[in-house]
Amino acid sequence: MPMITIEKVSKWYNPQFQVLKNCTTTVEKGEVVVVCGPSGSGKSTLIKTVNALEPVQEGTIMVDGLNVTTMKKDLPKLRSRVGMVFQHFELFPHLKIVENLCLGQTIVLGRSEDAAQAKAMKMLERVGLTAHAQKYPGQLSGGQQQRVAIARALVMDPICMLFDEPTSALDPEMINEVLDVMVELAKEGMTMMVVTHEMGFAKKVANRVIFMDAGEIVEDAQKDDFFGHPRSDRAQHFLSKILSH
């Protein structure tokens, strides 16, 4: 059974504007799938539909065998098991780093304060930020904040991770520190769906690449096939622009 199944998903923002057109794909357990495409192609929207942060009008999305599109009451519980990392980090600015990491654990998972703290420190150590536990998000650099955001997702023991352009709001010198954490996660066998323009990352760790344009999944191929000989003109055009220098 695949971890994530997206089947014939369509979404309209209003009757005139369709953001997702009949999208179908799957993500197997342990697989790393990179979603790329020009801006406005619906990649971010697609990844947000996976944990129902964006509702869809047509189609079905299954996560770990559960239908997300029809789920209501158990949605928070499912979301807590799907880690999400946002483009603009979205750490809670009024809480210290360690409190950011404990909030979900204590409220959603019902862990004790001590257990949550211990887990938080463990994950902070993993992303190399234990020294910053008592600081506020605004005191950290963008790269550090994004690593905290990854840790905030990891403390919930997620079954899979969604990344929505995790490096596109970062200064160039901070991109690698975030990608390093992600590469490590991928190597450990975490199921990941990553919207990104970082083709180096895709080449290094992705199993598959999904190329989207104008709300459609234009190409869904094994990594080597995609970079070696993309079938569609649109993907070729996109790659020629993004890889030219």
Binding site: K48, K77, R79, R81, V82, F86, F92, P93, I107, M156
Partner: protein, 230 residues
């Protein structure tokens, strides 16, 4: 130029000015703030609710109140309230509400409109991404509001609420139109009785200035202390 000023009139009238005038001014400010905040919260919640009827009502209420001069509202309520009271309890005669009760109700209703807008702006100032991040870690609507949105909104709106209260403190002087003895009203009465207009009005101005300036100073300090590092 100040040589023929009579400062003694100020000393003589101090007990009257403060024990009667200022006490009323502060009482009205406090009551209108507390009840204005409670009512304002309700209106803000209505405004942000998904029900078109509730939000429509809230929008109309706020727009109506903000489009009328406060003096006019004070007058309107003073003259209308007896008839509204009569209609509600189906009495034979207009209900005698009195100037005090009337002003308290007026200021509460008027300030509620302003406070509700401050709260709505405060809640809406929290970026949508924050709400999404809250949902993404598994919080439900209530938990997102309580742990993510409101703590941030509160920090954004607290200084504005205090500033609005300072404005309200000054606006209470408008009750002079109903001949109520607030601080300015008391000063005005002494001024006319003793023919010492300049002294009394200058003194009243000084008192308002000192209180409002000090309060603003503390609001600024508070703002620095509670603001979120971004």
């Amino acid at each position: 130029m100040f040589s023929n000023f009579d400062y003694d009139v100020i000393w003589r009238s101090l007990p009257y000015l403060f024990q009667q005038g200022m006490v009323f001014t502060l009482t009205l400010t406090a009551i209108a703030t507390v009840f204005g905040l409670i009512l304002g919260t309700l209106i803000a919640m209505m405004r942000l609710s998904s029900s078109a009827v509730l939000s429509g009502f809230a929008v109309s209420y706020v727009n109506l109140m903000r489009s009328l001069p406060l003096v006019l509202v004070i007058f309107l309520f003073y003259f209308l309230m007896p008839y509204v009271g009569q209609w509600i309890i189906r009495a034979d005669q207009p209900v005698q509400v009195g100037a005090y009760a009337s002003t308290i109700v007026t200021f509460t209703l008027f300030e509620a409109a302003y406070f509700s807008e401050i709260m709505r702006a405060g809640i809406q100032s929290v970026p949508r991404g924050q709400v999404m991040a809250g949902y993404a870690i598994g919080l439900n609507y209530r938990e997102v509001m309580r742990h993510v949105v409101l703590p941030q909104a509160f920090r954004n709106m607290l200084p504005v609420i205090f500033t609005q209260t300072i404005v309200l403190f000054q606006d209470t002087s408008l009750v002079y139109v109903l001949s109520i003895t607030d601080f300015l009203g008391a000063a005005s009465k002494v001024a006319q009785r003793d023919g010492r207009l300049t002294e009394m009005y200058l003194f009243a101005a000084l008192v308002y200035f000192v209180i409002c300036f000090t309060a603003s100073f503390f609001v600024k300090r508070l703002q620095k202390r509670i603001s979120i590092i971004r």
